[in-house]
Symmetry: C2
Subunit: 247 residues, 2 copies
DNA sequence: GAAAGGCTTCGGCAATGGCCGAAGTATTCC
DNA sequence: GGAATACTTCGGCCATTGCCGAAGCCTTTC
């Protein structure tokens, strides 16, 4: 007999099992930069042949974790929704060491690629790493935002500050990131490398978008890491007093 | 050669794989009621023999997902931290059907046990299901809270309301759920059965605690579902105008 | 139209890992 | 002290499933 509760429990396990395979996990991690990649690129990211990758991608798409779009002879795969990205980030956060302060030190921090990731990276559609945590810290210190592990909100002061940077927060009057009262929340996202919250949600997305379009940061191909351009360094240091966050 | 980035990716995949096994997934789901269970109880929940469960529990504990406490000849296992509970809830949310509005209809809703779960259940340390969503809706309508997918906050009005119910929100001046400014946030938690947010975080925990200690709701043994007592029905319907949320 | 590239399906191999029976330790109860 | 209970370790069986080579489909390019 199959209990009705088993149905949902089984979907729960299946989803996790899908993520739990090393090859698929690498594909999903590669897609955490928020962009769509071809099957071949994902095969390379996972370290498997195209035919093996094809099977994995079919499974992930079938389960609703990925969305696929044909374009010529390419097929572009991306995370199906921000909810999926959020889920993956949450798992990464737990995988990176469990509760902060616990004795677990599984994630060794070595190597240049790793260092670049810890310094600054994208987390689906917002920024993460030392850079993002530093930005959140300065904004908190100055009263631009209020942030806790349970939630966050931008103040009037912060709205003005961000608009001065070119972030338009009054574009739409309602959206997933604002309450019925129009208040703009910023979702805290626990940074897996820094173990402290940074800014996600609509606010984090807007901030990341501005940084990219203005050329303050640039994506490093084939990884989630980003570099801060010389211009970006000047602008962001002036705006956020980054101190040694980029060293 | 093992790339340094692979280290973290591997921990990511291992964590997901740990959750992905059906037996372990059932154990974790059973622990989502927030309480500690013995190895035997978890074996029963997973549908495996004690010796098999023992191996699974050792893995989960070793990975930092569970914490264990000896007590006499029993060993009580619980989720290691709220972060783990949050991760599991996020996976359940995605597993229950991907993005809201997507064509996925994998989770059939049948059977009495399932119906009870959808009506009211605990989600680690707060309430979920139709009951919790209805409570959040009423509080939003009345201006007690502001809630969006990105965050939430309790208003002065809401603080008074909850204190009238016996929830003391001014107990400590700082904590994980409040910003440096003392503002009390309530984390939104996407309800996997209702596909709408309900109240989590410190606020959700406090609310759930009051309901349990006052005897308004009671846990159903062996499941995450809770029943609303006759007294609770009276009190909660008066306070929250639950309408048909409990039918 | 032929060639090339991107992607998928099929088939068989191999290894990972979950499962239980049996046996061993630790703790409580009588 | 002996029986009972809770839990763990060990060893071998078996199913699942990830992997790649080969071959086929579809689209673009020349």
């Amino acid at each position: 007999m199959i209990s009705p509760v088993m149905v949902t429990t089984s979907a729960f396990a299946e989803t996790a099992a899908l993520i739990g395979d090393p090859a698929r996990a690498n594909m999903l991690a590669a897609l955490m930069n928020g962009r769509a990649l071809t099957a071949k690129e994902l095969a390379e990211a996972a370290g498997v042949t195209p035919q093996t990758a094809s099977g994995h991608l079919a499974q992930l798409t079938g389960a609703g974790l990925l969305a696929m779009a044909r374009q010529g002879r390419h097929r572009y795969h991306r995370l199906a929704s921000p909810a999926v990205a959020h889920m993956l980030e949450t798992i990464m956060s737990v995988a990176a060491g469990g509760a902060p302060g616990s004795g677990r030190t599984k994630s060794l921090r070595v190597g240049p690629r790793d260092a670049a990731l810890r310094r600054a990276r994208t987390c689906y559609n917002h920024l993460a790493g030392r850079l993002a945590v530093a930005m959140a810290d300065r904004m908190t210190e100055r009263g631009h935002i209020e942030l806790s592990l349970d939630g966050g909100v931008i103040t009037e002061h912060g709205t003005n500050f961000l608009q001065g940077l070119g972030v338009n927060l009054k574009a739409d009057t309602a959206g997933p990131g604002r309450s019925a009262g129009g208040r703009v929340f910023c979702r805290p996202c626990l940074d897996w490398s820094e173990r402290r919250p940074h800014i996600a949600g609509v606010l984090g997305t807007a901030l990341c978008t501005v940084c990219l379009t203005q050329g303050w940061i640039r994506r490093i191909e084939g990884t989630r890491a980003v570099t801060v351009t010389p211009m970006g360094r000047t602008v962001l240091d002036k705006a956020f007093d980054l101190r040694d966050a980029l060293d």
